[in-house]
Amino acid sequence: MTITNTVIGTIRASDAADAADAKDIIDSPVATPDPKSSNAPPRTLYRKLVDGHTVATLDAQNVLLFCDLHLMNEYTSPQAFTGLREQGRGVPMPGQQVAVVSHIIPTHAVPSALRVIADPPSALQASNLKANCDRHGIRLFDTTDALQGIEHVVAPEHGMIRPGMVVICGDSHTTTYGALGALGFGIGTTEVEHVLATQTLVYRVARDMRIRVDGPLPAGTTAKDLVLAIIGRIGAQGARGYVVEFCGTTIDALSVEARFTLCNMAVEAGARGALIAPDATAINYVLARSPDLAGEWREPALARWRTLRSDPGARFDAEHRFDAADIGPQVTWGTSPDQVAPIDGHAPDPARMAVGPARDSAERALRYTRLEAGAALAGTPIQHVFIGSCTNGRIEDLRAAAAVLRGRRVAPGVRAMVVPGSGAVRAMAEAEGLDRVFLDAGFEWRQPGCSMCLAMNDDVLADGIRCASTTNRNFEGRQGRGAITHLMSPAMAAAAAVTGRLTDVRRLPPVLGEESPR
């Protein structure tokens, strides 16, 4: 893969506390120019969003940032609510918060109203979330709600994510919302408490990175393949300290759901946030889900959203360029999302790598994933397939997988499951008959939740099971102790299901009686 890569200025693995970095940030204090002044310097979209949410500038690096929407789940919020109670603090702006039971919920195929959480500690987390939401008047998508799902799938479905917002959540994949021109990022539980009590965060302003991708994505190649290729190129630390703005003709042509996938996984390159300037595609998506924007607010909203783009001449601290034509279907071979290769590629041979941490990591990863050094990736037998997650659990993902599965069967010895991202996705898929396609192919058609992406519920893989997964992290033990995760697109996961091996979806033999497999 020959991806051109231009670097402007100095890029270094950066961090808040990186010695050199801290100095850089001090040297370039937070600028909040008056936007009305004609000689105001051009700003990036990211800076406009930060400036538009700055309640106070605290020091040269930090601002008090107003947050428009705070999403919560059952496992990173309990201690925050306890902290509020202990300090006698309340939640002054409950209409800017929403909670979803998402991570611990079982996904067995029972009707929504009959869903129960059998595991006592998990049931306590859910009932505790409900008690906390009741106490403070916070909207909740509870266990038996037909619209429950993964928080990052649910929120945009209901028009809660709009261009120009700041959205935070005690979950690292909150970067997803950049797809709609909203600045989203993950926070810890101490910060969850902070935002509940003040509707603000103490926020260290990040640096600006732009990633431009041009040209049409080749056949069989999706936003998932694109983001995996980008992470593989710039590394798991490549965007640390930055908010990434994606642009270029490839990005312009992506659907909103594909953009969700792209921005969702930007955090796997270490990014503090991801953004795509909102265009007609994004705005139409929002308007279609926001009945309150049909009337008098529509025109002022559209006028405001038109300003949400980086000014010509705005300076980015780092820049990368990719040519979409160079990207094909990807699959990870290791235990970090940047340990990835094209499906027609190979696992690395550590013996041929320079001595150093990257080689040590590759050696350790191959031991864990039980792949031979230099082995071809295609043809590796798998025992499990998982389609779902906040990365790839939306309707377009299910359509892409179903398109591969129509007329085909899951290979003997493979267990395959689909966990839709939300109740709404599940209902839409059923209305389109996709559930029949999955069931006829031999997949399990399950209820929504985070499920096997992080295996906090009862969807856990056994030691040594190799899984073709549409999720976002291939960390050691992520899907179960000793379980091996290969990240890929929904179409690639479907192809792996029918052959029982890591498979190039472009080379799947045609279904008999059909002209083309896809």
Binding site: D18, A22, V55, Q96, N128, H194, A197, T200, R240, F475
Partner: protein, 212 residues
């Protein structure tokens, strides 16, 4: 939060790049509604094999490293999931500082919010500290937050940088929420102006049907 001015403790090296928070605190230990009992889960799958037996090769299982309070880690320590349980677990196991070439961003904020001292040093110095900790088990490391200096018994002497706000949070044991609440009037005025200009953002969590 208790102030952190100076930490002196024995150290151990964890030579792992991108040591993610899933490995620091696996999912099965995230099911509580309080912060208790997390030292059980710390580095669980690195410490124990599939049958629950201690892995003798893992440094924190070795008697010579019992009671270490400073970890020397690889780059991007604490990347991945936002789970603050990773920080709470480290502290409950007696870890007071981690030294590495770089840290995951959310992990860094979580650590600062809890008074877990994170020190960023260049790769070469981190490697020297690792070598010392391996050669002399529990090699003592001293970290001074006031002067932002680190020195080890083996002879490493380094200055590190930290954002002034983080330094002050550690030194004074600040309650960040209490501090931000002093801005309450400005936050309310900001919100009023913000929603006057963009009324479609007020109560946005209740924008549509469904849920409750």
């Amino acid at each position: 939060m208790n102030p952190v001015r100076r930490i002196e403790g024995r150290s151990a090296a964890l030579r792992l790049e991108n040591l993610d928070t899933d490995q620091i605190m696996p999912k099965q230990f995230l099911r509580g509604i309080d912060k208790q009992g997390l030292s059980q889960g710390l580095f669980h799958d690195l410490r124990f094999d599939g049958e629950g037996r201690e892995r003798p090769g893992f440094v924190l299982n070795q008697p010579a490293y019992a009671g270490v309070s400073v970890l020397i880690g690889g780059n991007n320590f604490g990347c991945g999931s936002s789970r603050e349980h990773a920080v709470w677990g480290l502290q409950q196991a007696g870890i007071r500082a981690v030294v590495a070439p770089g840290f995951g961003e959310i992990f860094y904020s979580n650590a600062m919010g809890n008074g877990l001292l994170l020190v960023t040093l260049p790769e070469a110095e981190v490697r020297r500290l690792m070598d010392e900790a391996d050669a002399v088990p529990g090699n003592t490391v001293e970290i001074d937050v006031e002067t932002l200096t680190l020195r080890s018994a083996g002879g490493v002497e380094a200055r590190f940088e930290m954002l002034p706000r983080h330094q002050r949070m550690l030194l004074e044991g600040l309650d960040a929420i209490g501090l931000s609440m002093t801005y309450r009037d400005r936050i309310e005025a900001f919100a009023a102006a913000h929603w006057a200009a963009q009324p479609w953002l007020k109560d946005v969590a209740r924008a549509s049907g469904g849920g409750r």
